[in-house]
């Protein structure tokens, strides 16, 4: 009697995909490429597009501001507040990178943490409520953001960060898979490890000498990470179903 949730479709998935990659790009830009404002701008556009997609999904669009009412317990509210901060610091960083770009990067980290906790708090969905999902969501964001940043530069510092994020993401996936095995995630998970991690690391190594190889590595890491999150949100999210610990013993009354 397991039931695949249909309430959050590709629009919600876009928030995790684009929002995560955008936030990761802000972090990568702050770490490895602070001199250019284009990655910051792209980061904000991606996060805004993700949030806009979610806005299209809610039932009462004109009440969207009610999302800010419950910061005490709701990670969705916290994500919204953090997003507001991210846009503020991000916009300020376009004008004045210091000190606003590091602040925007820290806020971006908080944003992806909130995204992980949003899934973690979904008690009815075993694939989401596993504690390991938080690191998975955060690490995919870091890896995909670094991959996007490779569009702007293939500087060694960014390649180092990219490689580190890929390894972290692979570890996070491995831990998550052990805790919450899912048939729907097997194919994207395999692609994430083989193409998005091993293949991307080899290409990234070549990228120290051939910039195009680094960008190819970024494309592989980005595509596999986005695929995994899309499936996680839309096709692996089964409710746990009903359970009867005891069957009725009839004829006793």
């Amino acid at each position: 009697m397991n039931w695949l949730q249909k309430h959050w479709d590709q629009r919600a998935a876009l928030n995790f995909m684009l929002g995560g990659a955008g936030a990761g790009l802000m972090i990568a830009a702050a770490l490895a490429y602070p001199q250019d404002r284009a990655p910051v701008l792209l980061s904000l556009v991606l996060v805004a597009t993700g949030l806009g997609a979610v806005w299209l999904e809610i039932g009462k669009k004109l009440r969207a501001l009610n999302v800010f009412i419950n910061p005490f317990t709701s990670w969705m509210t916290r994500e919204s507040f953090v997003a507001a901060l991210l846009f503020s610091f991000g916009a300020a960083a376009i004008v004045k990178p210091q000190p606003f770009l590091p602040l925007a990067a820290l806020t971006a980290l908080a944003f992806v943490y909130c995204q992980g906790r949003i899934l973690r708090a979904s008690t009815g969905i075993p694939a989401w409520r596993a504690p390991q999902v938080v690191l998975l969501i955060a690490s995919t964001a870091l890896a995909e953001g670094a991959a996007l940043c490779l569009l702007f530069t293939t500087a060694p510092l960014l390649l180092n960060w990219f490689a580190l994020a890929l390894v972290l993401r692979a570890i996070a996936w491995s831990r998550y898979r052990a805790a919450a095995p899912s048939a729907a995630l097997e194919a994207p998970g395999k692609a994430l490890v083989q193409l998005g991690t091993v293949g991307a690391l080899l290409l990234a190594l070549a990228g120290y000498w051939v910039p195009a190889a680094a960008q190819l590595a970024g494309a592989a890491a980005l595509a596999t990470g986005l695929w995994l999150k899309f499936v996680l949100v839309t096709r692996a999210a089964f409710n746990q179903g009903y359970a009867l610990p005891h069957l009725p013993v009839r004829g006793t009354r």
Partner: protein, 199 residues
């Protein structure tokens, strides 16, 4: 302190779905939305198959995950344990439906009274409140009792104050073995299932 709860006697339920129909009529829910459902569950393999009819719906949990995730505070818990939804606050994000382990929440654009917001069983809270105002006792007086309980042809469904030691719910729980669904999640559901007499 009053704490409303429901009991389903699995030995008595015949799966007639009258409770489902009564709920739909009372609460005017649209097609596809069933605040009170009765599952027809088969357990085992032929020839050792057993069948159980299991009424389900909102469990009005002590610690409802739907309330914690709600970004708008539309989902609240009253002092008497009933979990409510403020349809004027709800933004229809359906996060609560994903947090609920009991598949008890719906969102439907076909719902004429509550379009595009989260809905679920309310324990017929309007009937309870109106009945209490008239001095009636929910679970005993039909006018103050949830429609599904009133309609049950087999007296499988019961409603009352679980904190009242002399009440019908406490007596049923004391006289029978019972369980609550997905207790391991720590939500503290206020929906009890009787499955055998007390040892």
């Amino acid at each position: 302190m009053t704490r409303w709860a429901m009991v389903a006697d699995l030995r008595r339920c015949v799966g007639c779905q009258t409770c489902t129909a009564a709920c739909k009529q009372t609460n005017d829910t649209p097609p596809g939305v069933q605040w009170r459902r009765v599952l027809d569950m088969e357990v085992g393999e032929y020839p050792e198959v057993k069948r159980a009819f299991v009424p389900v719906g909102c469990m009005h949990c002590d610690d409802p995950p739907c309330m914690h995730v709600c970004p708008s505070t539309a989902t609240k818990k009253r002092a008497d344990g009933i979990v409510t939804i403020d349809y004027d606050l709800c933004i229809g994000c359906a996060y609560c439906a994903l947090a609920c382990p009991y598949q008890a929440r719906y969102k439907s654009s076909e719902d004429a009274r509550r379009p595009d917001v989260a809905t679920k069983c309310t324990f017929c809270v309007e009937r309870i409140d109106a009945g209490l105002a008239q001095g009636l006792k929910p679970g005993v007086d039909p006018e103050a009792t949830p429609a599904c309980v009133n309609s049950c042809i087999a007296q499988a469904l019961h409603f009352g104050d679980v904190e009242d030691p002399q009440g019908n719910i406490s007596q049923l729980l004391a006289g029978n073995q019972h369980f609550r669904m997905h207790e391991e999640l720590g939500t503290g559901p206020r929906f009890y299932y009787l499955w055998d007499k007390a040892p």
